[in-house]
Symmetry: C2
Subunit: 332 residues, 2 copies
Amino acid sequence: MATSITVHDVAKAAGVSASTVSRALSGNTAVAAETRDRVVEAARQLGYRPNLAARGLITGTTHNIGLVVPDLENPYFASITKSVQSRALAAGYSVFIADSDEDIRTELELVHQLSKQVDGLILCSPRMAASDIAAVAGQTMMVLINREWEGLTSVVVDDAEIIRLALEHLHALGHRHIAYVGGPEKSWSNQKRWAAIERIAPTFDDLEVGKVGSYAPNFDGGQSAADVVVASGATAALAYNDLVGLGILARLTTRGIRVPEDLSVMGIDDVNVATLVSPGLTTVRSPLKKVGRSAVNSLVDLMNPTDRHSAPEDLPVQLVVRQSTSVPQQHS
Amino acid sequence: MATSITVHDVAKAAGVSASTVSRALSGNTAVAAETRDRVVEAARQLGYRPNLAARGLITGTTHNIGLVVPDLENPYFASITKSVQSRALAAGYSVFIADSDEDIRTELELVHQLSKQVDGLILCSPRMAASDIAAVAGQTMMVLINREWEGLTSVVVDDAEIIRLALEHLHALGHRHIAYVGGPEKSWSNQKRWAAIERIAPTFDDLEVGKVGSYAPNFDGGQSAADVVVASGATAALAYNDLVGLGILARLTTRGIRVPEDLSVMGIDDVNVATLVSPGLTTVRSPLKKVGRSAVNSLVDLMNPTDRHSAPEDLPVQLVVRQSTSVPQQHS
DNA sequence: TTGTAAGCGTTATCAC
DNA sequence: GTGATAACGCTTACAA
């Protein structure tokens, strides 16, 4: 907190006025080459760093963005956060992070706290009510991840394609009775995925997909669900996400139920940890790094309407077959 | 970006002056109760939110802090980040997040970028040179996690105790030849852990601990190390952290080497994913949530020298025995 | 108790 | 090309 050096200090050192310093360093207006060098040198010597808050006050732009996620300890959001931060850095933005801990009230509070000190906000898998999203969107530039709302820019992976790939894989192996283990009710992705199942399942011959409750989107949730899945008589479980899938895997192992011999298990997303376990978890990979990058790009486009917009990336999903799925085996 | 409402708007609506609005809302100076209510009500109706940047300009305090970590996708740092953000929110601070991706140059750049717009900085497991840390510490309030430097506040877990618990456990099981799988050379924790091993190992009867290279502190690093560990002839591996431990586990499984029958494996930290695998990874738990919280507390104390300081928490570590360690078995 | 005025560090406007 | 000057939104002496 050592009193920092200002434009005036640099101005004095370089023998020019404050405005010239500003111009020389931000390079917007023409400055005599010789003067500029002198200013730059003085600034370097003094270790001058512009006060961004003060600059933002007048330019109306902070060069900060905010990212709100439900749970940083969920590797899915950790990956997205990492790529958001990385892309933001490259684009010259700093990132406020906010973890709502899956709580709607906290989420809303964080959004408000942040909205005044950023140029734009990225809401990742927001659980809040649509009306609240709309209200905030009126105040701040905003990009949504894993949720859509009229008029707002969204980055979403193709849930229908994910479901199609998963069902196709399991059906091809011979499974005819599958249990979908649902995530949070408020999760938009969860709703989309189940809707996709209801639409797509009938397109496969003789395929029945049942829904098993709603569980927390993490390892514990999967553990809770496992026994219900077994009782349902399904030969394969398709989990809301990888963490739930891993939870199911763990509980089945504990019970001595073999995967994939007795029951096949699939996750969704292919988060980093999906490869850590054995048997490895078959899953459908989402391009998380691309999702984060794309969200930042869209937000930057939104915030700088003059610039040439970057072309929207497409976000291909991809089946990743590991050892947790196989042909169902009739026993006894 | 809709032009936001200012103190003046509220002032006009409430029929008072801007300064009265400021006083009424921040509550520092006395304001007539009746006036205050009128102002508060007007502010609420207009949805007024103070511009923190402008406030910071005059008060010299931004109520923002910055957190720099080596890798958000590493669950160890994800946990710390989550608890930092959570505690910061409670203390009235917003958090800038910066992921250096284990790169020293990026780390330094991020620190500089952030240092001007925060009241304080938390550097988590910084890899940068001590001289650079010192330089930044001269400019900004700072708390270190997992690193110590003269005069700076640090939050560190007791590496010596971690090592003692781990060696005690393995030695008690009967292991006499252990391989320590090292993390990044620049990692201060890694250095401390190895130093602790050299100091503590001799206190156990007939115990030999060898060091196996330096590996990336993640799953891939562990996979790379596994074969070298096997070749070393050790009956147990103590990994730099859980991720490395999991990597070793996975590679051993692939090679058909049984854990713990053929080789015992231990991790350090007990990150969330350590329980996902089977066999579960024996490890020494660090109180990550407490670490993050404690760092924020210390930083807040530093930034508000007037306030009563919170008592420093102690950070107990704890052995967590799972299935990846057992008595070594002589085969053939 | 309240209003007026000054100023935080910057950049934008307008003269020169 | 460069220097005064005003202004961004806010807080805080200082007056009233």
